[in-house]
Subunit: 366 residues, 2 copies
């Protein structure tokens, strides 16, 4: 079977997470993706985590792409990128657009161009995941109960959501291009992605309609039963009961006298209101058992649960790291190494019919 | 301009976040999306947050769709859904597949069917965002420094990423169908989405290659400079310097004697190593000023920063809540209300040519 995005060609002009994640995802689905960076590398080339001076972050976000480096400060370098963009037909970027790398100018060369442009704020001003998240409310409801400061997420969740939504937007525009021949410019911002997601989850309407502001509930899952527990051997696990069936499973698995709690605990709101009492019963039951013992009982009763792991435990236990989480039924490539930065500069420029030696002499490439 | 996904018809069989978010996104882009639920509603119909007994969560995740309710426990009800799936041509689901609502059986009715199936774990076993996140390592590196327990995220980030990646997968399969006439089954799991994202961010390679486990650094952004500060008027803000340019902007904006710190602070690693000294200088500077004063100075010097806001502050300040963050240049619909659960049961079944009164008498619909 051919790769699912066979024939799609994407030029990526990017840094950090959102556009590179989008490009790496498209590449893993079989698109040809070329990432362009300035001479010497972009601002994210040495982003931590590092290993022996190499950025594991850059490597992880740029798998499956060809890497081209050019003097992007020079008009000639940017003109070359514009030629390449026209040739590829699709552009994915999260950097400020500079002439001639703007949608209208690129369309002069390639009328059916599809271009996806990611910004920080909706009006184009800069913002990053960590300012967007601060501005949205989540840091005030994340973290230990009683903590009096905001708690940032470490996962750049808005970058990730934006990167994946960007590929959705790109493929939506590609669909229209296939059907009508018309390209288009697709814009999205980290700020609006975050706002729209908060809206989908009901958090904006809650803030509008409910008098009391949302509290901070630590590791409790709001509005139902779910929290962390510690086992006898010092491991931690999450236990949840989102549905009546899961609640019955938990009750059967533990045999605990939840019926002493004077409420209909098959109702999620009642589980939430009585989360302390439920937890008080579960805590010693789990605390007297090892993780392995709890696991065996919970699995036998289809309890919704899972152990906490550190990243070191994760890599010790996984046997496979696919390049993309989408499985179309064929062989999926494993997550391979990224190219060496600038590795394909000459190759790509030769394919464009350029005189590589002359470009080097002119300082446009290294 | 026609909506970008004009002509795409999607049947959604879903609950909770990932598939409903995907369906709502496709609907906001102009696809016709019908969500099917069991009689009386699915397990997520009353999920918190609530307002006057109505789930703001369900409302937020089901905008723009038509809602159909059928007796899904009966073979006849499931057969009707299978007919509807064949008619629509595309299925998006995150529920266990039951006959005849499986890909092979649906293909008998509609050979070019595209079906996107989301599971919790890669092997199809159940998992939810909160167990997947526990199992991946993030809770041990999130939250206040010195805290000795895992810290859960409140944002179901893996549900969100999976929902958006599902739409990418759906449109990738739709592209192949347009080009070749072949449909296909697309599988993805919350567990693998989380694993792949951690891999992209370098966290898995870090755990493999770096001896020391990643620490917990509170609101500091790992490997560069970024953290929260409190202003004189009791507001909090994030300040970051990810690039040399942003670092120079911060130094100019504050006029603080960062040159006394004996390191080249244009290097991100040096900013990380000296984050305490940088913070010690910035803390009183910000603490002596109001948020408005800091904002004016930072904006004038293009500092990368942003205030923390509560959800109540967010909704007081925003003037627009779009239905989707993707902007294709036309009018974007605002985030509208969801349908009443089951509102379109009769309408949709009549379009299928069914005898609605007979179905009601048989108990297949309410």
């Amino acid at each position: 079977m051919e790769a699912i995005l066979d024939g799609l060609r994407v030029l990526e002009i990017s840094a950090f997470v959102a556009a590179p994640l989008g490009g790496a995802t498209l590449a893993a689905l079989g698109a040809e993706v070329i990432r362009v960076d300035p001479l010497g590398g972009g601002v994210d080339l040495r982003r931590w985590p590092l290993h022996r001076g190499r950025s594991l972050y850059w490597q992880g976000l740029n798998r499956g792409k060809r890497s081209v480096m050019l003097d992007l400060r020079s008009r000639r370098g940017r003109d070359l990128v514009a030629r390449l963009a026209a040739e590829m037909g699709t552009v994915l970027t999260n950097l400020p657009e500079r002439e001639p790398l703007t949608y209208p100018r690129l369309c002069e060369r390639r009328p059916d161009l599809v271009m996806v442009s990611i910004t920080g704020r909706a009006d184009g001003r800069p913002a990053v995941d960590y300012t967007v998240n601060a501005g949205l409310g989540f840091p005030w409801i994340t973290g230990p109960e009683g903590h009096d400061r905001p708690v940032n997420h470490v996962l750049p969740a808005w970058d990730v959501a934006t990167g994946y939504l960007a590929t959705t937007g790109l493929l939506a525009a590609e669909r229209r291009r296939l059907l009508t021949g018309h390209g288009g410019l697709v814009r999205l911002s980290l700020e609006e992605v975050a706002l729209v997601v908060a809206g989908h989850l009901g958090l904006l309407d809650e803030a509008r309609l409910v008098g009391e502001p949302r509290g901070r509930f630590g590791n409790h899952l709001y509005g139902t039963f779910g929290r962390d527990f510690r086992t006898r051997d010092g491991r931690y696990l999450m236990v949840l009961a989102l549905t009546p069936r899961q609640w019955h499973g938990l009750a059967r698995a533990t045999g605990l006298p939840f019926e002493r709690i004077p409420a209909d605990l098959t109702d999620e709101g009642e589980r939430w209101r009585h989360r302390r009492e439920i937890g008080d019963l579960l805590e010693p039951w789990i605390g007297e058992r090892t993780l392995a013992e709890v696991a065996a009982t919970f699995e036998a009763h289809e309890v919704l649960w899972g152990p906490y792991r550190t990243f070191k435990e994760v890599v010790a236990e996984i046997d496979r790291e696919p390049a993309v989480a989408l499985d179309f039924g064929g062989e999926r490539p494993p997550a391979g190494p990224a190219s060496r930065p600038g590795e394909h500069t000459e190759e790509v420029l030769r394919e464009l019919g350029e005189d590589v030696e002359e470009l080097r002499a002119a300082g446009v490439i290294a």
